[in-house]
Structures are given as C-alpha cells and as structure tokens.
C-alpha cells in the first residue's frame, strides 16, 4: 500500500502547526495517531500534499483536572483515556468507550482529537462527547474558539473546523451528582467500528430523571444526539417500561440505511435495543 507523495512536517508548537495549515490551505492534513488518515492515504482515497504531525508538540497530550471540568489534550491516546484514573473516577463513560475502540494497537496510537476531527460516521468517541455535552477548544489564525459538541459534527467526515484550525483540547464538564453513564456498542466484526453505538448520560434527582443526554453513532452520516429519547426521558421516573418506551424513539428522525451489516428494520431494532441497554445501565449506575 503506497500513499501518494507528500511533504511531512513536524512542528514543535501549536502556532507553528496553525501557520503550516495557513501556508497550505487546500492540501494539508493534520496527523496524530494516523489510524484514520493513513489507511485512506494508502488506498489513495486521501492524497494530501502536506502532513502536519502534531505529536512533537508538547502540552497537547494529557488529562488535567480543573474546577468543574476535566480537560483532555487533543493528542491524548485512546489507551491513556482507557486507563486514566481521573476519568474512571470522574467521567467513567470515556474509559468505558475507549476500551471498545479497535484493538490495543489502535488504542495505543489513535487519539481523541484525531478521532473527533476525522468524524468517522461509526467512530465511538463522537457519540460519547455528544452525550457528555463536551466542548472542543480549537486554535486557528484568528485565535482560540470553543465549539460545542453538538455543533461540531456537520456531515460525512466533515466538522465545524475550518481548514486552518487545530483541536487543542476537549473540555468535559463535571457530571452532576446522581449521574450515571454508559456506552454500549455492536461492533462491526471486521473493523470493530460501531454498527450501532449509544452513549447515555443520565442524572437522577430523587425519583425522576432530571437530565438525560444520548449520543448515537454508526447509523448516519455522523454521530447525533438522540433528542427524541432525551425528551421522552426528561422528568420521568426511570422504570423499565418507561426506559423501553423512551428507547423506542431512538431511530426517530434518523435515516437508517441497509448495508452489509443488515437491513433497515434490523438496524432499527438493533439501535432500539442498544439504546435500551445504555439507558438501563446508566440509570442503574446513577442510582448507586
């Protein structure tokens, strides 16, 4: 597998990276772990003339706790997320989801920023950050801006990033007390990308659901929030029948497609079942 010719840059600072993107506005791509980009380049589906490697930039990788949030550097690997004690304690859905990405080799190299920027329609982390209500801090020519997760994914492999912007950090707000989270996934048996992946973040106040956020991946052009499910949950008492009724809304507004993994009615059933599993687990964890 031989990619087309490209120039390889290793900027030492994030500003250098941004300036390289500005110099090559149409034909530069950022690379971190390379697990999304390199396969496409090897098949020559992607032929960027310039590769800007972010791995030499210090400070772009790592997990930090601040008041009210956890900050994850863009080049933090899936493996670091999977094994992070901080995240296991504060945002356990992230290690849970990261554990289900690919295999150990992929997790050792792949990064959260790379996964989000690539915006594969079946990637796991997009659904999770949607459910968490995360914010992405990005740096471009005009300085820093923050993009809310629900505004980030805009289409098939496309995001709200402009060509000269770099994700620097993902900000995960603290989970309120009484919150339970869960990510469930039916993996494609070959790629282990999600045929269906559902993230649920549910906060229970006494006996009612105070807040519910659901992220869905694998079934459309990009990960989306399951608003219909969220609405069905909000303010309700989380018993089994209610959760099942809410999960039945998982496919509302989605255009499911038949593919090698099954027909539309199967996909709908799969999505509904995995949504129910995610909701049930999140509720159970919220209660404990």
């Amino acid at each position: 597998m031989f990619p087309a010719s490209f120039e390889y840059h290793t900027p030492g600072t994030i500003d250098e990276a941004v300036s390289l993107l500005k110099q090559h506005p149409d034909d530069a791509k950022l690379i971190a772990g390379g697990h999304s980009l390199l396969p496409m380049m090897k098949l020559r589906f992607a032929q960027p003339a310039h590769l800007v490697d972010l791995r030499k930039i210090s400070g772009l990788s790592g997990i930090r706790e601040i008041d009210g949030a956890v900050l994850i550097g863009a080049t933090t690997t899936h493996r670091m997320i999977e094994t992070s004690a901080v995240l296991t304690r504060r945002i356990p859905i992230l290690p849970e989801a990261a554990h289900l990405i690919g295999d150990p080799l992929v997790r050792n190299r792949g990064t959260i920023g790379g996964s989000l920027a690539h915006a594969d329609p079946a990637a796991d982390l997009p659904a999770v950050i949607l459910a968490l209500g995360a914010e992405l801090k990005v740096l471009g020519q005009k300085g820093t801006r923050t993009i809310k997760s629900e505004a980030f994914f805009t289409g098939l492999l496309t995001t709200a990033l402009t060509p000269e912007e770099v994700i620097t950090e993902i900000r995960i707000p603290d989970l309120p007390a009484g919150t339970g989270t869960a990510y469930t996934k039916h993996p494609h048996p070959a790629s282990r990308f999600a045929v269906v992946g559902v993230a649920a973040v549910i906060t229970i106040d006494g006996k009612t659901i105070k807040r519910a956020r659901v992220g869905i991946t694998g079934v459309g052009e990009h990960a989306v929030r399951g608003m219909a499910v969220e609405n069905a949950l909000s303010g309700k008492s989380p018993d089994d029948a209610m959760l099942a009724a809410a999960a039945a809304h998982a496919a509302d507004g989605l255009e499911l497609r038949a593919d090698s993994q099954g027909p539309v009615d199967y996909k709908k059933d799969l999505l509904t079942r995995f949504t129910l599993t995610a909701l049930t687990r999140a509720v159970a964890r919220a209660k404990t």
Binding site: M1, A190, Y266
Partner: protein, 790 residues
C-alpha cells in the same frame, strides 16, 4: 505439550518447530526481503470495472514521470510471443478461455491487469501506474453463478457461449431416480456455499532476474509448488527453455491454496526482467490480494436426500452451479468436480448418488483451491442434509449418522462416486466426540435452558477427507495435466550428516521439523543431523509441491522410500566391511550390525565416510551415498472424524457465541502431534469463520463490497473459544508409514458443525435453514419470519 528431553522415538514426538525461532524473530527469508543490485519495481494498472472493453491505453504522461523505466501493455507482451496462462486440469468438453497475463481486448473482473509500470522505486511505479490512462467502454457485469447462466446474461468470452465452462456428472442417475421413487422420506434444500477470500498473511510477491551473460532466468516467487510454476511458465506462457529458468520459493507466509497457481504477475515480472535487463520486483498490496488472489467455494446447490422407512439414506441428488470467476485458474475445473462430487458419500453408505455440476464464468476474481478445496463444500452440503433429515425424521442427529455409517468391516469401501476409501472406523470417533461434549447431559441442559429463554445449539459434522490425490495414471485419465507423485533426494554427507531435498513445499506446515523427525527416526540418527531443503528448482528434483494435505502422505513417503535406498547401499558396504552376508545386516539405531551379534557393527557415519573414501567398497559398488526417490501412491488417503460445535444464540440480537468446540480426527499415524493440533486449530478457525463471518459480495455493477480487512471479517483470536481436540488412529494401508493428511480437516468439518449448531439452537422457532454466513442480521431476520421467533 512440547517435548524438551530426547523422546524415545522421534516419530510421534511433539517437538517444537525448528523453523519458528527464525520466523518469529524476523530472520525469515521471504520473497519481498530479497534486495538485488539494480532492482526495479513493478506496479500493475488494474481495471476499476468488473466488465469493460479496452478502447485505448495512453501511457505518454506516465512514461514521462520520474523514475519510470518502462511501461508495457498486453499488446507488447503478445507481440513478444507471451501466451495465455494454461489450465492444469482439462475436463472433457471444457470451454477453455484465453487468460493473457495483461488483458488486451477486455477486462472481466475488478482488478484485472491491463498494463505494468517498471520504475526505480515502488512509489514511483505506483504513481506512474495511476497516471496510465485506460479508456474503457463499461459493459454490464454478472457476478452470481446462477445469474450468469441465464439467457441474456452479460457474456464474458466468445469461446464459452452462455458463460458455460463445463458440465460434469458423476454417479448413477437411473439408480438415484429409482431410489427417490421408492423413498419413505425426502428432504430438499437449496444450499449456498459462499465465496471466500484466501488472505494469506504474506501477500503474493515475485522477484525476477535475467542474466544476459548466460541467458538464465531466476524467479523468486511465493509458490506452493515451484516446479509446477517453472513448468507452466516456461513451457506454456513465456517459451523459456525449462532448464534456463530457476524458480525459488523459500519462506512463504501461508498459502491456503492461493499460492499453488500460476498468476499473471510472475509471468509479467519474469518477462520484464529480460526486457529491461534489470531485476524486477513486485509485491502485492493487500487490496491486490483481495482482488486477484484466487478465491474459494462459491457454489449454489440444490440437494435432495432420500431415506427409507428405517431412516437409512438411500439416495442423494445434487445439482451445483460452481462460479469459477472470470478466467480458469490453474486447477479451477478440478475443485468442484473430482474434489467435490466424489466426496458426497461422506462417511455413509449411500447406495445411489447423482451429481451434476455446471462450471460458470462470471465477472469475479477466479476461484480455485482454497483450504479444503471442494471437500468443505461437499461436507457442508452432506452434513446439512443429514441434519435436515434428522429434523424431518424426528431422530437424534448423532444416531442418524451412526445408523448410516459405513461399517468398519466394509473397508476398502467403494462409493458410488468413484472413490475407494482405504480405511476407516467412524463409530469410535463419533463416540469419543459425543463423550467429550457429554452429549446426553448437554441435550438435557439444552431442554432446560430453552424453558428459560436461552437457546443453545449442538451441531455435529462427521466428515471424510481425501488427501494426497493419486494415483497419477488415474488422474491423467480424468484430465490432470500433471502427475501426483512426489520426489525426494536424500544426501548423506561424508560425516554422516544428512540433507533431505523434498519436492513438497512448506509454507506454514512445519516440514523442516516433521520431515527431519521422520528421516532421523528412520535412519536412527539424532534429529539435529538432518536438514530439510525445499522450494528451489535448482536444488530439488522435480516435485509437485504442497496442496491437498499431501505433503506427509506423498512427500513423506518419498523421503521414506529414499531412505530405504540409502540403507540398502549402507548394508552392502557394512556387509563388506564386517565380512558378513548382506541379508544378515540390520540397519537400526544409527548402526549397521550383524543380526544376532550387535557388537559386530559399524556406525552410520563410518559407513558414510567409507562410501566417500571408497577405499574399501564391495566390488562394483559406486562411491557416494545418496538416493533419489519418486513415490507415486496407489490411492488417496482418507482421514475422517467427528466435530461438534456448541453455540448460544441470543434470540433478541441474533448474535451467535461459539461456546465449545470438540474435534476428534483420525489422520492415521502422527509424526508430530503438536503440529497436527496446530493445523486442526487453524483449520477450525477458518471453517468457523465461513459459518459466522466471512463472505465476498458484490454490488450490481460487480464492485466487490469487501475488499479490505476493514470490511471482510477474518477470525480474530478473541472471537473463538479454546478447542478440545482428540484423535483416533486408523493407520492408512496406502503408504509405508500409515499416515494420512491433517492440513485441511479442521476447515472441512467446522463450517458444517457450526451451521448445524445454529440451526439446532433455532429449532424451537421452526427455522430449518439460513445461508452462510450466519450473521446477527440474517438470524434476526429468520426469527422475524417465524411466528414463534418474533
């Protein structure tokens, strides 16, 4: 368990593979590792269409790109006299079609090659190949074998009207019709054996060198049979005198059949090495492996099985459409005929069998032998039909099988489909497997769990394997363009060390270990004193290579036979030195001694030394100590066994979990049990994968939908349970060591066992059959279609 101390007998010892330290520490010598001075790189321009006419090829832009040494099209090759790739098995009335190494008139599958770029680097070659502009007139494509036979289907070759390659029949039609007419019960089922993609770990590769001084060519190629490559390439394709072409195939990273065949690429690379007068290297990209390595299976069969009132099978009627792909791969016609239809009697006495096979061309990658090659297809069909019979007759599937087994006292057993089984004793293998899964208790457990809404399934497959295809004379009468014997050359060096040159080829099988074990055992020498050489036409006598689980039964027997010649000569020398009669000399334990007085002896090394010193040899005896043997077996050997799979099917999701797998195989005497276990394990993984995950598919324009490891599901370790393997031993009477073959048994039995297990799990829902692979979606759909399953 591997043996660490010196075992009592080398034959039968689980010695660790001597090739492994080399292979797992990166010291192997694979084709792509070769770096020759002045080496250039080839990249092929391939069709993006499944079916198109070539209207023009414009190489001007590509030819001007950096590093480009030469660009050749099909026209350049045909002008230079390069001919079509040959077919090695000519059935009567076979419609042969041309298969030029580079297409000239049309392309017939995605990946078909139309030009080659030779450049200074692999990257430059690939860049220029992308710049070659081919003008295509796209034509409708057909990828399904049955569709290809329909009137109005796109036509691939003028030489094969209606896309028909051959029509093959075997058995007795009238007797079969009569059996069905008298049957108490008949089961019918359409069974699709889906197309599989081989995926050896090492992609195909070739490096060719031409010596302008001597006119000699050397080709290093990923081949399971270098002599066959040399013969077919030299005599049929390139017109190079056979003695001026040396083919070397050293370490090869798996083949599973796909590296038996002569492919366009090695022919082009060899021709180009002379044309550019520099070595040329080509290594397939993984995507090229998916598009161009010969693929496996792809049958659509309609089967009917007739039972009498006592549950005895009295007839089997099968019609199979075998999709051969766009061209005839080297042994394509053999696989769905003499390696498939002849297996349809399985382990059973079936008095009447009639099978018809239509071989068909389609706009897909050529199909040929893939691990099991015809036998998994036959076993899947037969074992599904027996299970459907058991369901229809309301009989336990194990008991129905036992009832129909060929009795142990009936061997050699002549089937109605050509084969005469050499030996067999099927009951004990079944009993052992049933006992290993605790069958009765498991059935009770199954009943209990069903009441709890849990659905486990128990699937049996008994199988017969036919390996070491033979004898040559019969094969010739059936259309083989090759003999089916094997060669060995045993060279004893003056110090008594031994080099064995084998015509067999190892590409994962562990011959360097197994053959050294059997040779050392037979000579009574330490294992370390024997070295095995294979895979080089410049060193090894003409040999047939490895396929069809033949290496030990045929290649090993050739070594055994060569060693007898060495011992015979050694006895002559020993008798002379010990002043005894030749017939009184015993060769045993690394010594030659006089019968009854073991102290009157000469060590093997002393005899070897004398053979080369020649100071004191019997009158008229030539010096030296080496022997060549060509062993032509009298028959196939027929391993058999019973495999049992236990699965759990989640009713809601359709997800299948394989929870237990038991394999009881009878491969005759075993040289290295650990290596046989390894082969069985790998084979089971491949067969389970066909049942649950693998399968090539195409869209309606003929584009393959699974052409990468992201789409095509190869089994991974965490998808499989630990297997329980065991053996019964029924030595083959065909060869001197009583050995059979073990390379394909796992693949042959496991697909049927797993499919039967899943259908058994789904029995409460009235589901009787689902085509492979049994994905969650297909199972979910079947359950949706059942009133009890929703």
């Amino acid at each position: 368990m591997a043996t660490t101390t010196t075992p009592e007998r080398l034959f039968g010892a689980s010695i660790k593979r001597r090739e492994d330290p080399r292979l797992i520490t990166g010291k192997g010598n694979f084709t792509d590792d070769l770096k020759l001075a002045g080496q250039t790189f080839a990249s092929f321009v391939r069709s993006p269409h499944a079916h198109a006419k070539i209207k023009g090829i414009d190489i001007r832009k590509a030819a001007a790109m950096p590093g480009v040494v030469a660009i050749y099209t099909g026209k350049d090759l045909t002008t230079a006299g390069v001919k079509s790739l040959p077919c090695g098995w000519l059935l009567p009335d076979l419609k042969l079609v041309p298969h030029l190494p580079l297409a000239t008139d049309a392309v017939r599958h995605v990946g078909d090659q139309v030009a080659v770029v030779i450049a200074e680097t692999a990257y430059q070659a690939k860049d220029a190949a992308e710049a070659v502009k081919v003008t295509y007139e796209v034509m409708p494509a057909v990828t399904n074998g049955e569709q290809a036979l329909k009137p109005g289907a796109p036509q691939l070759h003028a030489e094969a009207p209606g896309n028909k390659s051959f029509h093959f029949t075997i058995g007795d039609k009238a007797a079969t019709d009569a059996a069905f007419a008298s049957a108490a019960n008949v089961v019918k089922q359409r069974l699709i054996n889906q197309r599989l993609i081989a995926n050896a770990m090492e992609p195909r590769a070739s490096v060719a060198k031409y010596d302008a001084g001597t006119g000699d060519y050397t080709l290093w190629v990923t081949s399971q049979n270098p002599h066959v490559h040399r013969l077919l390439m030299a005599a049929f394709v390139l017109g190079i005198p056979e003695h001026k072409l040396r083919v070397i195939s050293q370490d090869v990273g798996g083949g599973f059949g796909s590296k038996i065949f002569v492919y366009p690429e090695e022919c082009v690379v060899t021709w180009a090495a002379k044309a550019v007068n520099r070595p040329v290297k080509w290594t397939a990209e993984r995507r090229e492996s998916f598009l161009t390595d010969a693929q496996g299976r792809d049958h659509i069969s309609d089967a009917e099985m007739a039972f009498d009132a006592n549950g005895k099978i009295i007839g089997l009627r099968v019609h199979t459409v075998a999709n051969l792909g766009a061209y005839l791969s080297t042994f394509a016609p053999l696989i769905p005929t003499f390696l498939y239809a002849t297996l349809l009697s399985g382990c059973y006495t079936i008095p009447a069998i009639w099978c018809e096979v239509d071989g068909v061309y389609s706009n897909t990658t050529p199909v040929d032998a893939y691990r099991g090659a015809g036998r998994p297809e036959a076993t899947y069909l037969l074992e599904r039909m027996v299970d459907l019979g058991a369901r229809a007759l309301n009989t336990d599937p194990a008991e129905l099988r036992r009832k129909n087994f060929i009795p142990a006292n009936a061997f050699p057993y002549q089937t109605p489909v050509a084969f005469q089984y050499d030996s067999g004793n099927y009951g004990p293998a079944l009993d052992k497997a049933l006992q290993m899964v605790n069958y009765k208790q498991l059935r009770a457990e199954q009943e209990r769990l069903r009441k709890e809404g849990k659905y486990i399934g128990i699937g049996l497959a008994t199988y017969i394997e036919a390996c070491g295809p033979a004898p040559s004379q019969v094969a010739g009468a059936l259309g083989a363009q090759a003999g089916l014997w094997e060669s060995a050359h045993v060279r004893v060096h003056p110090t008594g060390k031994v080099t064995v040159f084998t015509g067999s080829h190892s590409h994962g099988q562990g011959h360097e270990t197994t053959f050294a074990q059997l040779a050392a055992d037979e000579l009574g020498l330490p294992y370390e004193d024997v070295e095995i050489v294979h895979g080089d036409t410049g060193q090894v006598p003409f040999g047939m290579g490895s396929y069809g689980s033949r290496s030990l039964a045929v290649g090993g027997s050739a070594i055994h036979s060569g060693i007898q010649k060495i011992k015979e000569k050694g006895r002559k020398i020993a008798a002379h030195l010990l002043e005894a009669a030749e017939e009184d000399i015993v060769a045993e334990g690394g010594k030659f001694f006089v019968k009854g007085s073991p102290s009157r002896s000469k060590a093997f090394a002393e005899i070897a030394l004398m053979a080369y010193l020649a100071h004191n040899l019997p009158k008229g005896l030539e010096p030296g100590l080496e022997a060549t043997s060509f062993y032509d077996p009298t028959n196939f050997v027929f391993p058999f066994g019973t495999h049992i799979a236990v699965v759990e099917v989640d009713k809601a999701s359709g997800i299948v979990t394989l929870t237990k797998y038991v394999a009881v195989d009878d491969v005759g005497n075993v040289v290295n049990p650990m290596i046989v276990d390894g082969m069985v394990h790998g084979g089971i993984a491949q067969g389970v994968a066909q049942a649950l995950w693998e399968g090539a598919s195409y869209d309606n324009t003929g584009q393959p939908l699974a052409a990468s490891m992201m789409d095509y599901t190869l089994p991974k370790a965490d998808m499989l349970p630990s297997y329980d393997t065991a053996r019964t031993v029924t030595p083959s009477p065909v060869n001197p060591m009583g050995v059979k073959g073990a390379g394909e048994t796992g693949t042959i039995a496991s697909t049927a066992a797993v499919a039967n297990a899943v259908m058994d799990a789904l029995a409460p829902f009235g589901v009787t059959h689902i085509d492979l692979p049994l994905t969650p979606a297909t199972i979910w759909k079947a359950l949706q279609g059942s009133p009890k399953g929703r």
